[in-house]
Subunit: 152 residues, 2 copies
DNA sequence: CTCGGTGCAAAGAGTTTGCAATCCG
DNA sequence: CGGATTGCAAACTCTTTGCACCGAG
């Protein structure tokens, strides 16, 4: 798989084309599902929802599409502690945010409160760490674990 | 499994006993392996190393011991991005630290540089977030992703 | 003696792969 | 038309479970 860098294209459809990929019914369905949800869906959950749009789609296509979107930087794969991956669109309406993960029900809550201080510190850390460890930092993961209101 | 809180016991051996568990050759081997390594081993890697100490040990015991130690708060389970879990002793010589994760080779590097500022901010965040989201925060995960020096 | 602990084999769960058929452009 | 994409089933990987035997205390 090519590690595609095709910036600026407004629509995912265009980005696929620009990367030499094709837009298909299956991919459209996956993207639609991701755009319409507020939650962090697993591959399987995306599968169920995508089936409603396109009954012929297979789980394999979900995985392959997610992998492509992930490579393109359009979706982020999250780790919620249970064994399956969860996915969120990178460029949904949401801005930069981090996660609260419930250890009991594995629910993931986004937060973007108070995030400016966080981001400022992170940028500094990135600079210092990449210098000290000669490490090319491309991203970060910040999560707080605990028990959510519903589970308490 | 009991969610054991038996503070203050100096040795893991004692902590096991204090929790109503038994100390066995298998558990000793797992603990020894964890104490002697500087890396973040997977269950399988721990298995190989433990086999050297105790050739009769099975992979199952590794998993079950790690689960107990994890419940007791003696080991932390890490997520490196590849699908298997990695483990580190909570009370090794290392103090509080966070991780740099190489996306290429999945190596995890500990850092504890500049960590005071980080921890200070985290504590603040925890306070604010737990209030706003009514979320009982028990821990956090901070990781930077990128490409390590060896992989560049 | 009592129960917790063990190894083994088998089961699970999530994800990936091989392949022939199909579809996009 | 040519190569990318797909669904299906099978393969894989890591982890968990059932069970009969073993052993710590």
């Amino acid at each position: 798989m090519k590690n595609c860098e095709c910036p600026g294209a407004e629509k995912l459809h265009g980005r696929f084309r620009g990367c030499g990929y094709r837009m298909t019914a299956g991919r459209e369905a996956v993207i639609k599902v991701l755009q319409e949800t507020q939650e962090h869906l697993s591959a399987d959950e995306i599968f169920s929802k995508a089936r409603v749009i396109n009954p012929d789609i297979g789980l394999t296509t979900i995985y392959r599409t997610l992998e492509k979107l992930s490579m393109m930087g359009e979706v982020h794969k999250l780790d919620s502690g249970d064994k399956r991956g969860r996915f969120e669109l990178a460029n949904s309406g949401k801005g930069h945010h981090h996660h609260l993960v419930c250890s009991r029900c594995n629910r993931i809550i986004d937060y973007d409160d108070f995030i400016d201080d966080e981001v400022r510190l992170l940028k500094e850390m990135e600079k210092k760490l990449s210098k000290k460890y000669n490490f090319a930092i491309s991203g970060h993961l910040i999560q707080f674990y605990g028990v959510c209101d519903k589970c308490k």
